[in-house]
Amino acid sequence: MMDYRLTEQERALAARCLETALAKGAQKARVTLNKSCMDLIGTLNGEVDKVSRCLDRSISIALFVDGKYGSFSINRLEESALEDFIDKAIATARLLAEDRLRDLPDPARTAKDAAGGRELGLYDEACPKMDSERRLAIALGASIFKDTAPTEEWTLVSEEAEYSDSVFDTLVMDTQGLYCRHTETSFEYGVEMTITDKEGNKYSGYWWNVCPRLAGLGAEGICDRALSRAVSQIGPRSLRSGKYTCVIDSECSSKLVTPLLNALGAYAVQQNNSFLCGKLGEKVFHEGLTIRDMCRNKGESGSRLFDSEGVATTEHDIISNGVVNEYFINTYMAGKMQMAPTVEDATRPRVMPWPEPGLDRGAIMARCGDGILVTGFNGGNSNAATGDYSFGIEGFAFKDGRKTHPVREMLMTGNLVELWNNLLAAGDDSRPCKSKLIPTLAFGNVDFSGE
């Protein structure tokens, strides 16, 4: 039994780092103190294969010295080591070019409701009470390897799983009085099942869950889900290249949203390396696309009250009915771009249901009729400057709303703006365990390459 949250002494140490930085010549400073503990049990084929314990502490300090700026970190938290560290950090910052745009955020914009760390209800008292017996019971209890007999179609080759529980505690303080803390527990179970079919071909299926609360983990059933994902891939074939209606499963649909959010980042926009440069306030996407940052939902994975500068998060629309409402602009970039600052990034973005609430994957496939259901991506990338993308995919062909056969060695290729303008539907079935709440999506006229 162990409680690995930040202690009073450690928090006082962070405060002394700020005092030391000012005493040694910095005009302003921000300290971020991180502490985490994770216990992990890995299993292979229903037996313990690995146990590990990870205990981490580190201090990062951002220094504003004579108009110059540097960022430094260390994981040795002895006072003597820290004093020497800050000396060297200030000396290094002084070597850099002056940049008067570097500054701490306006105190009026910082979070005032996060001093305790547990305001979002993401800390489960069950975590420090976990012991090796309880962990083993979860890790081994979820296994189905020994109870899974070969069938005529397939044989289970391996079941590789990991259970872990963690505590993360973060404190951000600055010399303008900022004091923000975020404390979160996490319970996670994930498994990869590998099978062979009667021809000796291998297929793998992965499934996982993560929850801030032990009671919400539900490790049982995860191996069955992973196994069924592996089995469903037996007998794949490639389709002819062409344009298809495409349904993207909620398990992997964030792959199509992340590049949009990256393109809204101020660092990309300021460098002209974003296909959304100059698009603020414009309708760029289909009117059905609304992305809302639902960052303050209590008890939900990914919620945060402040960003890494301590700026308060707010629930708002990032993209609303296809219109770009926001770039993610921190204090520094606000000066560079001569724009008002916002927050550093999307915290817990949700693609809102369209054209109506309540649709799940099955309902969307039924509406689409025929097409390709993408259940996973295999590599690929997108061009930040143009929005052109090309992704490897795995999934199924479907007809009349029903899966017909698995597909493999296929690619979907196009441009993200065009893709999102061909939006047919956005479901209401995102997985709550994810920090990006992206549901099943459907698009028309997508180029697929295959046979």
Partner: protein, 479 residues
């Protein structure tokens, strides 16, 4: 760099007696092997943006990872302090793996032992200018010079970001066999990201060089080489189109196309995946998996290379490992656990991101030896296909063998000639089939010295290379 033994003991404030005590503590529960991995890493970066080197910093990471093995099972814990109570606590946490784990003698950890002391004369990365004591002020103008060189070469350049990162890690390893190894590992990386505009269109390009070298790597020649590469091929990139997608022959240009080997074959040759029966190459040892004349290696011995190791992270000497010889699968890539499982010597592939991770089989510099063709003849042999030479990233599904890699630029091949430039396409194939479909290999092997980082569970610096190669049938993304 290899200093004397006392330097490392002093760095971590331990004695050899302490090391023996900790290894014994780890084995108290009945494990059959215990090793200690001490690390003190200093990382520094400086960044040029909008013409000024106005941000930078350094980061210090210090600690010890303690591993206890019981047959193939692993217990792992680490401490960010090297005081004895903290380290003993970590050793006891790692020893938890031994609960209920009874291991017969034939399943014990590989007992291939290497008692020799590290030999500075055989050092693969001597560091003439230690990054830790280098004059940072003198490095700032290097980034400005790099930007000037890039801008001078192309008027379409609108933005340049240049970053110099450097890292030096002092490493001390000890294990319950009594092996003591130590090593100082430098790494310097120079990256330039450039944005171009032409007639309202935007293109970007990122280029890099990374070596296990000290500050001496920063030469005018390196800056000029990087600047030239940064603007090379931009005309083609603005003119590039998406090809028509589908299956076609693919000519992999020499150098960075080695990503094909890394994704399509290298991961599937890592012995942990094979030991667990998950790899598509499980049970194929000794079998022909591609044509005669094809030899694929994983090499930790290239001096100054990003994937070079004097010792891997289990204290096993770095080696040149032939995975495929004349078309026959001859070796997996082993750590100590898999080596014992297969009854072979470890190949020096037990690597890790840092003391926070246990070692697992990882690649180093993976490449194909030269063949006897020429690049010109190979291109001329293709009626309709694609030539690729610059890449962003790749991925593989180990069991199915399906791999992909993302092509930043290349050309269509029509009637044996390079014609329309292409860009931003993913290519997908199946590892064993792609190996079998290699039809020609040129004699122009090149190793790419970019900042390649493998992301198998942990990040690990690697490199790759290949001669010009023709793969007769891969699926290319397109319209």
């Amino acid at each position: 760099m290899i200093y004397d033994r006392q330097y490392y003991l002093d760095t971590f404030r331990v004695t050899e007696r302490d090391l023996e005590t900790l290894a014994a503590e780890g084995l108290k529960g009945g494990g059959d092997f215990c090793d200690l991995f001490f690390e003190n890493t200093s990382y520094r970066d400086i960044l040029l943006r909008d013409g000024e080197v106005s941000s930078g910093g350094f980061h210090i990471d210090y600690g010890v990872g303690i591993r206890v093995l019981c047959g193939e099972k692993t217990g792992y814990a680490y401490s960010e302090s090297t005081d004895m109570p903290s380290m003993k606590s970590a050793a006891r946490a790692a020893a938890a793996i031994t609960v209920g784990c009874a291991v017969g003698g034939d399943r014990r950890t590989s007992d291939h032992r290497h008692f020799g002391r590290p030999n500075p004369a055989a050092d693969r990365y001597p560091m003439l200018q230690d990054w830790r004591t280098a004059d940072v002020a003198a490095q700032l103008p290097m980034l400005q010079k790099l930007e000037s060189l890039i801008r001078a070469k192309d008027t379409r350049v609108v933005k340049v970001i240049a970053m110099l990162s450097s890292q030096v890690s002092d490493i001390l390893m000890y294990n319950s066999f009594g092996e003591l190894k130590y090593d100082t590992r430098p790494m310097g990386s120079l990256v330039a990201s450039v944005v171009f505009t032409q007639d309202g269109a935007i293109e970007s390009k990122s280029v890099s060089r990374s070596f296990r070298k000290g500050g001496e790597m920063l030469t005018d020649a390196l800056l000029k080489e990087l600047a030239a590469q940064a603007v090379q091929g931009i005309d083609e990139r603005f003119a590039a189109r998406r090809p028509k997608g589908g299956r076609m022959p693919v000519v992999m240009g020499a150098g960075a196309s080695g990503i094909l080997l890394h994704e399509a074959m290298g991961h599937a040759f890592e012995a942990d995946f094979n030991r667990k029966g998950q790899s598509i190459f499980s049970g194929k040892m000794g079998e022909r998996i591609c044509g005669k004349g094809i030899t694929i290696v994983d090499d930790g011995t290239i001096k100054g290379n990003r994937g070079a190791v004097n010792f891997d992270d289990e204290g096993v000497p770095g080696q040149y490992t032939v995975m495929v010889e004349d078309g026959i699968l001859t070796s997996y890539l082993h750590d100590r656990i898999s080596a014992k499982y297969y009854g072979v010597a470890p190949t020096g592939n037990g690597r890790r991101e840092s003391f926070r991770y246990n070692p697992i089989p990882r690649m180093r510099a993976t490449y194909m030896e030269s063949g006897d063709g020429t690049a010109e003849d190979i291109i001329a042999s293709v009626k309709k296909g694609i030539y690729v030479d610059q890449f962003a990233n790749g991925q593989v599904k180990i069991g199915e063998g399906d791999f992909t890699f993302y092509v930043k630029s290349g050309f269509l091949i029509e009637d044996g000639r390079l014609t329309m430039p292409v860009k931003d396409v993913n290519i997908i194939g199946n590892g064993p089939q792609a190996l079998a479909d290699i039809r020609a290999v040129a004699g122009d092997l090149a190793i790419d010295d970019g900042t390649w980082t493998c992301g198998k569970e942990q990040s690990c610096p690697v490199s790759c290379g290949i001669p010009t190669v023709l793969v007769s049938n891969l699926t290319v993304g397109g319209e």
